[in-house]
Structures are given as structure tokens and as C-alpha cells.
């Protein structure tokens, strides 16, 4: 549940902290991974179930979550396999994560019905019963106590729901499938949710939508911590939505200090890479639209770009060819420090998939979310409010920092276009959910977006609404705006041109 702290949020964070703690404490040469059996008892203590019908099931689910947090696949339920399978190999600083990223833990899924209309206790068995009259397939009848819907006949048109004067008819949906704008969630043979990998764009919204905590993504915290413990130089590139994520006392400077205390060498603002992207996309827009491309879609949101490529391959060319801000920042780091490792820290889980791409792999070694980072802080007992402020070692413009909120990306690009060609009028279309992104693509295909700049974002509210965040969206949005306003530069063009130009050359594919 986005924005509400539920037992699911708690469990997820306990697992991150537990895995991070052992990654920090373990003997690097002689690790006993059986430790993680104990972990499931620490997280689910006692003999009485707290969350589900059985304490044994609760612990079994925790154990699969631990595997995912180590970047490992969940185990098949039908054969015996020790929890520790594959852990030795995963316990290195090398990239270990493999697709699929988002995983449904089958025995945690309660097989919610998909799209079903049900009569609730609100039904008064009224005299009028308009529910029966409006049904086009005669599926609604009046039973002994209430209206009855014949599920075999029902075509799910929703007319009975609309007609009921008592709001007694409810549409019962599957939260994971409803959160999935890519329409990638179907059912397995037991009616449990199943992700179609061909359709999934790894936005991660099903993870935070499932009310039974049955979905989780893989993490790279164990490999990152191992790199830190081996004494490797690690640079962090932090997404602009980081401000306000770690509590009201954790100022941006204290968050940076906390990250450095984990052993990370330097922290770079990805907003800086966003500035690189704005320059490139403005230039591409002026050069290509409308003569070579009917419109231009922004490229910073991986899930949006994946959705466009998967569902409308004919429009693929119209998504900007710029690397994402993550990649632009990482490239700059690797150019200066080729031997360093780079961790991207953000609100996003689809960046984990982007980092697996052939072209991106050399630059981004690990991707972790803010929530996972919080697990690292907790594991190391780092009190952010006690930290001395440390400055970010890169500056992003106001516009670059505003990439974190819906509308900010297009605004940043438009501001550059205006500076380059004041006479040019730019129309903007925006969508900040995959559902709306899909509709926007359909409009674009029909020629209704010609000449426009299209900003696509998978998460409602933009990156501040990402599945890996801790703060509620309005609070985070305000924090981002304040931080953006504090930048010494307004637009991408105001930013340090020397460094930008160098990066700019390397950003074009």
C-alpha cells in the first residue's frame, strides 16, 4: 500500500535489515549461511502466527524473501532444496542478479479472484431491484435474502453495480493485476497470480500493491556490502527523489554523510545526469521533430520506455535516444575512476533491470532502492540526525532535481528548447501511470501527439511515487521542490558546461 505503513512494509524492511546486517558481520572467508534459518525465527518469533494462518508458513515466506534479498531466485515448492542453495556464489562483489526481477512467492499468494462482481451485505433485497433489469445476460436474480449473481453467466459489464441504489454490488479485483499498467499479471493453474515476463516492464508497482505480501523483487545489497567490505572503491549515484526519504531530521547533507559512513567514497547527484539528458533531448527534439520523428518521448523512465518498445515497436524510434540520467552519471564516474564500482540509489526497481542491459552493465554495478538503503543504515546503526552535513560532490540544476516529480522532466527539456530556440512552441503530453502511458502511446500512434514532447512515467506522481521509497508522495514532492529551489543553477544549460559537455559526448548512443 503506497503511503500507508502496513505489516507488509515492516516485514520487507526487517528482511533488508537482517540480510544487510549479516552481510556486514559475516566472516568473509568462512560464512555460515545457515545463519539465515535463524533470521526467519528472529523476524517471526514465537509459536503463534501473527500475519497468516501458520507461523511455519510465515517463516517459509521470510526465507524466500531472504533469498530474493540476496539476489537469488525463490525455490520451487515441489522439490527439496536447502535455503542456502546458491548463497556461496551470490556472496561476492560480482553482479549476481538475474531476471525475473519481480517474483511472486506462489504459496504466499492467496489467489484473489480476478475481476468479479459480488453482492455485499448492503443488499436490501429491494422491491425495485434494478440490478436484475439492467443485466444484459440475465445473470442477476433475487434469492432468498439478497440478489445473486450467476458467475458463469456474468460478463462483468458492471451495469448492476451502477444501478444499485445501496451501492451493494462491488467489483472485486486483484490488486496486483490492477496495479499493473503493462497488464502482465495472469493466473497459474491454481489460480494464483503469475507474471508474464514478456509483458512485464519491472515497474515494481505490483510489489507494493499486493495486500498479502506475496510479491518481492531481488536485491543487490549483499553484493554491494561485500564490495565495501573487500575495500573496493564504490561511488554512489543518488536519484533526485532522495531528499525527504529518510525522515524529517535527515537533511540532504546528513543523508550523504550517512552513505559515506557506510564506506562509500563519493556521492554524486543523478540530477546532474538529468541535466545531461535535458540538453540532449532538447537538441534531439529541435533536430528531429517533426521532420524525422513525429514526436519525441522522454527516455529517463525505464519502465515507460520498455512499455513503448514492447507494445508499440513501430514508435520505438520516437523515444529519445539519450541514456537515462543513471547511466549518464555512472559513465562520468567510470570515466574519471575506471576501477571504481558504481551503485545507483533510487526509488525505482526497474533501474535494476536497466542495469542488466549489455550497454549499461559496464557502468552500473549495483542498483538499490531508498528502502534498501534504509536497511543498510539500520544494520550499521547509523543515526542520520547525528551526522555532520556533507556536501554533494556534484551540482544539479533546479530542473535536473525536478526530474523526480511528474511533469518535471518535460519542463526541464522545454526550458532548454526555449533557451535554444525562443520562437519554437512546444506542446507537452504527460502520463504518470503505465495505464495512462499506454493510452498516451495509443494517441501517439493515431497521430494525435504529432509535434509534441511526451513525458512518460510509470509511477503515479513520478519517481517520488516509486516502489522503493519510504516517504509519502506529497511530503516527498515538497522536499524535492525545496531542494530544487536551492540549486545555484536554474536550467540544465546553466549547469557547469565543461563537465556537461564532456559527458554529453559520451551520452549519445
Amino acid at each position: 500500500m503506497r503511503g500507508i505503513f502496513t505489516p507488509i512494509t515492516k516485514i520487507r524492511r526487517q528482511v533488508f535489515t537482517e540480510v544487510a546486517r549479516y552481510a556486514f558481520e559475516r566472516d568473509l572467508d568462512q560464512t555460515d549461511f545457515n545463519h539465515f534459518y535463524e533470521s526467519s525465527y528472529r523476524i517471526i518469533p514465537g509459536e503463534v502466527a501473527t500475519y497468516r494462518d501458520s507461523v511455519f508458513k510465515e517463516r517459509a515466506i521470510i526465507r524466500e524473501r531472504i533469498r530474493l534479498a540476496m539476489g537469488l531466485p525463490i525455490r520451487p515448492s515441489i522439490t527439496h532444496q536447502p535455503l542456502t542453495n546458491g548463497m556461496q556464489e551470490a556472496a561476492s562483489a560480482d553482479k549476481h542478479l538475474q531476471l525475473p526481477l519481480a517474483n511472486i512467492i506462489p504459496f504466499a499468494c492467496v489467489a484473489c479472484p480476478t475481476d468479479r462482481f459480488q453482492v455485499s451485505d448492503n443488499c436490501r433485497k429491494c422491491l425495485a431491484h434494478p440490478c436484475t433489469s439492467v443485466c444484459p445476460v440475465n445473470a442477476v436474480s433475487i434469492g432468498k435474502n439478497a440478489a445473486i449473481i450467476d458467475q458463469d453467466k456474468c460478463i462483468k459489464c458492471g451495469r448492476c453495480k451502477e444501478a444499485c441504489p445501496y451501492h451493494a454490488i462491488l467489483r472485486f479485483g486483484r490488486p496486483c493485476a490492477e496495479a499493473c499498467g503493462a497488464r502482465a499479471i495472469g493466473s497459474d493453474e491454481l489460480g494464483r497470480a503469475q507474471i508474464d515476463e514478456d509483458k512485464c516492464v519491472s515497474c515494481g508497482l505490483c510489489i507494493v500493491a499486493c495486500p498479502f505480501a506475496a510479491i518481492a523483487d531481488k536485491s543487490e545489497i549483499f553484493q554491494l556490502i561485500t564490495a565495501l567490505r573487500e575495500g573496493q572503491t564504490v561511488f554512489a549515484a543518488i536519484a533526485p527523489s532522495f531528499v525527504g526519504q529518510f525522515g524529517p531530521l535527515a537533511t540532504p547533507g546528513k543523508i550523504v554523510a550517512g552513505i559515506k559512513k557506510l564506506g562509500i567514497e563519493r556521492v554524486i547527484e543523478v540530477g546532474w545526469g538529468a541535466d545531461v539528458g535535458s540538453l540532449h533531448e532538447a537538441e534531439e527534439f529541435l533536430r528531429e521533430v517533426p521532420n524525422k520523428k513525429p514526436f519525441l518521448g522522454t527516455s529517463c523512465c525505464t519502465s515507460w520506455a520498455m512499455l513503448a518498445h514492447k507494445t508499440q515497436p513501430g514508435l520505438s524510434d520516437c523515444i529519445a535516444s539519450t541514456h537515462t540520467p543513471m547511466v549518464a552519471s555512472a559513465q562520468q564516474i567510470k570515466q574519471e575512476h575506471p576501477d571504481a564500482k558504481v551503485v545507483f540509489i533510487g526509488p525505482c526497481v526497474s533501474k535494476k533491470v536497466e542495469a542488466l542491459e549489455e550497454e549499461v552493465r559496464p557502468y552500473v554495478d549495483y542498483v538499490i532502492t531508498f528502502e534498501e538503503l534504509m536497511g543498510l543504515f539500520a544494520a550499521k546503526d547509523i543515526e542520520l540526525s547525528d551526522m555532520d552535513e556533507v556536501e554533494l560532490q556534484s551540482q544539479a540544476s533546479r530542473d535536473g532535481r525536478n526530474y523526480a516529480v511528474a511533469g518535471g522532466v518535460a519542463q526541464a527539456v522545454v526550458n532548454v528548447i526555449r533557451e535554444l530556440d525562443p520562437a519554437r512552441e512546444v506542446q507537452v503530453m504527460k502520463a504518470d501511470s503505465l495505464d495512462d502511458c499506454r493510452k498516451m502511446l495509443a494517441l501517439a500512434k493515431a497521430g494525435k501527439a504529432d509535434g509534441c514532447l511526451l513525458e512518460g512515467m510509470a509511477c503515479p506522481g513520478g519517481c517520488v511515487g516509486g516502489p522503493g521509497t519510504l516517504s509519502q508522495i506529497p511530503r516527498a514532492g515538497k522536499a524535492v521542490n525545496a531542494f530544487a529551489g536551492a540549486s545555484p543553477y536554474e536550467t540544465a544549460r546553466d549547469n557547469d558546461m565543461q563537465a556537461l559537455t564532456t559527458a554529453f559526448k559520451n551520452t549519445q548512443k
Binding site: 505503513f5 525522515g247 524529517p248 543504515f377 547525528d386 511530503r475
Partner: protein, 92 residues
């Protein structure tokens, strides 16, 4: 109007376990319909780690409503404590 002080620990463990959501929940009381809104001035302060989690083996999030400690605080318990304190304050 009676004043109610709400102190919410914003240390690392407490934030991780939902103290930001508690602050938001307290603020949300002001959005209730006038008839339900607490007739008190609610002052919320985020405080640094109290070290109770480290030294006293207590579990956060820690919240104090008018000085009274709530351990393992959840937003519903904190909102209820505020509403109670508000009614109590008025009749007293």
C-alpha cells in the same frame, strides 16, 4: 484551546518502522470533517533518536502524546491517544 504535544522519534530505526507515516497520520487529523476534528491544538515535533531502542531493549517507533510514551507506535494508536487526550482536556 487545549494544546497537545506529540513527539515522534525520527531516528533511523523509528523512521524505518514508520514514524514518518505517524507524523502524516497526525497531520491528517486536521483534514477530518469539522465535526470530528480534534478541538485542540496539536503540535507535532520530530525528535532525534532517544536511544531507548539501544539501551532499554524497547522497540520503536517511540511517540509521546502529552509526555505519555507509546512504544511500537502505530498511527492508529497515536491518533486515538490524541483524540482521547483532546476529549479529556476539554472536560477537565
Amino acid at each position: 484551546m487545549a494544546k497537545i504535544s506529540v513527539e515522534v522519534c525520527a531516528g533511523t530505526h523509528c523512521v524505518m518502522m514508520g514514524s514518518m507515516n505517524i507524523i502524516d497520520a497526525v497531520h491528517s487529523l486536521q483534514e477530518l470533517h469539522t465535526a470530528h476534528k480534534p478541538a485542540c491544538e496539536v503540535e507535532v515535533v520530530a525528535i532525534p533518536c532517544t536511544l531507548m531502542c539501544k539501551h532499554e531493549e524497547k522497540e520503536g517507533p517511540f511517540v509521546r502524546v502529552n509526555g505519555k510514551l507509546i512504544e511500537q507506535a502505530e498511527s492508529e494508536a497515536v491518533m486515538a491517544a490524541i483524540m482521547d487526550a483532546c476529549i479529556g482536556g476539554e472536560t477537565a
